[in-house]
Symmetry: C2
Subunit: 488 residues, 2 copies
Amino acid sequence: MSKEITSRADDYSQWYIDLVRKAGLADYSAVKGCMVIKPYGFAIWENMRDTLDRMFKDTGHVNAYFPLFIPKSFLSKEAAHVEGFAKECAVVTHYRLKNAEDGSGVVVDPDARLEEELIVRPTSETIIWNTYRDWIQSYRDLPLLINQWANVVRWEMRTRLFLRTAEFLWQEGHTAHATREEAIDETRKMLDVYATFAEEWMAIPVVKGVKTPNERFAGAEDTYCIEALMQDGKALQAGTSHFLGQNFAKAFDVQFSSKDNTLEYVWATSWGVSTRLMGALVMVHSDDEGLMIPPKLAPHQVVIVPIPKPLAELDPHITAIAAELRARGVRVKIDTDDQSRPGFKFAEYEKLGIPVRIAVGARDLANGTVEVARRDTRTKENMPLEGIADSIVSLLDNIQSSLFDRAKAYRDSHITRVDTWEEFVATLDGPGGFVSAHWDGTSETEDLIKEETKATIRCIPLDNPQEAGTCIRTGKPSTQRVLFARAY
Amino acid sequence: MSKEITSRADDYSQWYIDLVRKAGLADYSAVKGCMVIKPYGFAIWENMRDTLDRMFKDTGHVNAYFPLFIPKSFLSKEAAHVEGFAKECAVVTHYRLKNAEDGSGVVVDPDARLEEELIVRPTSETIIWNTYRDWIQSYRDLPLLINQWANVVRWEMRTRLFLRTAEFLWQEGHTAHATREEAIDETRKMLDVYATFAEEWMAIPVVKGVKTPNERFAGAEDTYCIEALMQDGKALQAGTSHFLGQNFAKAFDVQFSSKDNTLEYVWATSWGVSTRLMGALVMVHSDDEGLMIPPKLAPHQVVIVPIPKPLAELDPHITAIAAELRARGVRVKIDTDDQSRPGFKFAEYEKLGIPVRIAVGARDLANGTVEVARRDTRTKENMPLEGIADSIVSLLDNIQSSLFDRAKAYRDSHITRVDTWEEFVATLDGPGGFVSAHWDGTSETEDLIKEETKATIRCIPLDNPQEAGTCIRTGKPSTQRVLFARAY
């Protein structure tokens, strides 16, 4: 076990923070609540971002960029929206500093007060819909399928790297449609994109569902989500896609003339995922030795380590293996550190979660083999040099699907159907995970359960079977089970 | 001439703004000084960003992300730096809104005042060097070669889309080195990267040079720059690379133990280009009909227009041409608008600056040809279908280099050597462009010239020939000519 990293059994929270910091993903900054995303962490985020960006473009979306600042009055235009965000806003009130008269440094210049305060965007619906008013006149201007990659700020008192920070990076899609049906289709389509990305790229199984009114986005008619399960039995919302109805179109007066020449309000969606996904990636796969990055997202998929150490001139076998792998599109790192011992290096590369390690030593080479270690199972085997690129490519595929299968087995074994309050509480306090239970459908009961157990309704799964039952808390009649969990 | 766009001869400034807005690059937003980058403009910026990002990575740099906010006290730590940026800062003073007691909306909650104000980053040297203190202990941690893509804010009263906006997008490289020489080498290397990008991708010839102390970055020992010339004879600084000496290391106490185990301050560079480059791209190449995007950066390099209009089923020749071009890596748009007339479409695609337009009509096809129009010369020719992909690929190369050659011929014919004050003023008021003249080397004279003519010293070109002369303004002795110009 890595000495720098607290074990999960000892302290799961500390394990997470240790891992994020020691593996070079992110760190706290001098600005309370804000993090620094370090180069290795950013390289993983770049792979996630580039993959998602391609998926968005393949589904017809384009990127644009809207202002960082939102006039305070804009927030107030949609009632639920301001209610949801007003309490966590960074507010710009002045636009100039000046030298302090006592020479002690710089102070805010009171003469440079803004007429109207500006909010650092917590999300961009308001500024974007204010802009769309100028862009949309006719049904010919629709649909508008726009995405933005941006930083946003939601003031947080208690922060945790990636999971909850005042500033974070994300993408926010904002689309405009002529009909309700088309907007709902878009909402569902982007939910599917997120689910595909989570499962096929991040190797994280997710439940697709819809939020209860309590957990809905501020200003949405419906919030769809994908929910993932972490190794400590807590759930994490990994992405949301909102059907906004005509709320923002009405708040910002965005109307279009339809084919039959009537004036109608535009239908809207918005959808987003953030650097929070980095937290999920760490918490689903990693172990006490360090990270475990799914091959499709790993900055280095393979590291080649010369044994006992790199020489000034690299062994031609190493160069050849690397070239063959790169020709197959594999991201390869060659270890060139001639100071540290192999054992130390192996531990370092395990900490970084590089999926495959190839050790190349003279003795193995004489036998025509290299030693290949996989990060997920921490097993080693000698593989013939002949055809090594093919072997590694198929090993990477295997690791990608093994990580998913393992996470899915864990997740599936942590969905518990319960029918009584005792079972409900015992499950939450015991194995945790998702608890599938009947609920009477009221916000009051949902609040009560949250207060008593800290569990929330993560979602009503899509295509949920309808089944008569009684609410675990109130005993009132219920038509379906919903998924409860304690969550990040 | 496009009716929506003012001609350059009538009003160059208005021509620029019309073009940026009407061609869908950017627009003003509801937030004073901030712009919206529209999808077409953003697609060009993405191509620029991705190209630069690849060039940075090829020269050993990695990306990271640092906080948007900078504690006010950090700015004060480097004296010149705070002097340079304090007057144009967006200042966050509060972190919460609340409902107004009179029900009129939301107001800033006076109870949520920050202990120390936060500045929205105008540039990130201070927060980054504060972080580097934790990352650098030994010479083994050096060099640190990090870049960040980010938004920054510098409050501006008079704004112009892309050229001068309160918020803009940019990249900022921040590197740390063990020696002065290595840091200077890095500064020069990144200047070369910028010059290569400007000339080979943007097709904009640039002069590489060094700034006078007056024009130096706040906190730098030396600022290197690339300077470009716009069609109105005004210069535009297209990128800067700063040698920061040990200024920020000393301000933030960043020391490292050297190979011989002494404690030394780290040497620094920073370098950046921004969405300002979009303004240069527009102003160097475009004409009264619209944009002219160099093929290497064009979102669509070729548009194929079915004549007289697209049918429900595309002509198989069109599909085949598009497929052949795409296989060669060419970005192709197929026109599917069945409402507008060809003449209208041609004007639209000229406005968008798509380098090559292929019109495919039945009569030409019968002759085994298509009509190919190039945007730069606005000439058309019939080209045989046979080998059309090869012809187009070589045409795109030709357009790329023609744009550069034309811009270079213009630039070269607008560098005027003058030896008297009369010639100097007459050149500025006449053809404009760069004026190569002797200067006595003092800031006072530079200020005086700026005050009298609005011309500034754009740079002292690298490898400038040393030549005795007399200052055009004061008659004092001078050792070299420098480049003056009026500038954006």
